[in-house]
């Protein structure tokens, strides 16, 4: 899976939001707020480029004090949310 290239994480008014940014256009209809851990997963997914639930779960376990099960649930929930919004290409 990959994050579509037009979507970026920005900090707006102290909150992490994902926006659809074209070359010189931003679509506020596709704005998605992320909590701190979800924003971390987003950044990790972007760093990995081509990522999987497993690769993100593994990195989340390394970074945070969570069980593999908790991490997987967190990653799966975020990916489902992003997929629903059309942010991910498979």
């Amino acid at each position: 899976m990959r994050i579509k290239k037009d979507f970026v994480l920005r900090e707006v008014c102290g909150e992490n939001v994902i926006m659809c940014e074209g070359l010189k256009a931003i679509d506020f209809r596709k704005i998605l707020a992320l909590n701190k851990s979800a924003a971390w997963i987003w950044k990790e997914a972007q760093a990995q480029g081509d990522f999987t639930v497993e690769s993100l779960t593994e990195r989340l376990c390394e970074e945070y004090d969570v069980t593999a099960e908790e991490a997987r649930s967190c990653v799966t929930e975020l990916i489902e949310k992003l997929d629903k919004e059309g942010v991910i290409e498979k």
Partner: protein
Amino acid sequence: MTDNEIIEEAVRLVREGVNVTLPVNGYSMLPFIIGGKESVILHRPGLIDVGDVVLAWVDGNRYVVHRIIKLDYDRVTLMGDGNVKGTEHCRLNDIKARVTHVVSADNKKRDLYSRWRVRAAKLWYWLRPIRRYLLAIYRRL
């Protein structure tokens, strides 16, 4: 995030030269913009004129997307197309963006300043005394 915070971020991006698509609420721009269903595309204000639809900080207390009905040097008077009375006032530098297009829920873009829409907007302005009745009919359609 509040609506104002989102709008301020949109204004900041417009100032940077980015074109922003922003959903709008309310019925104050009927029948030209349907709040809750449609979005507007915001550009840098540039040279604005009477008849332009703009995003403005009015009366020192709120943002509106309304049409300019009067320009007197630095003083701007605005009115919502869907309103039957009441105007808003601001200065030129309170005009934060010009609305160039409206985007429908099914992603169709329409120019707010096509020849016939400009004519329709002028006619609509002169129909203020009977707007109330026309809007009532429109809402029932």
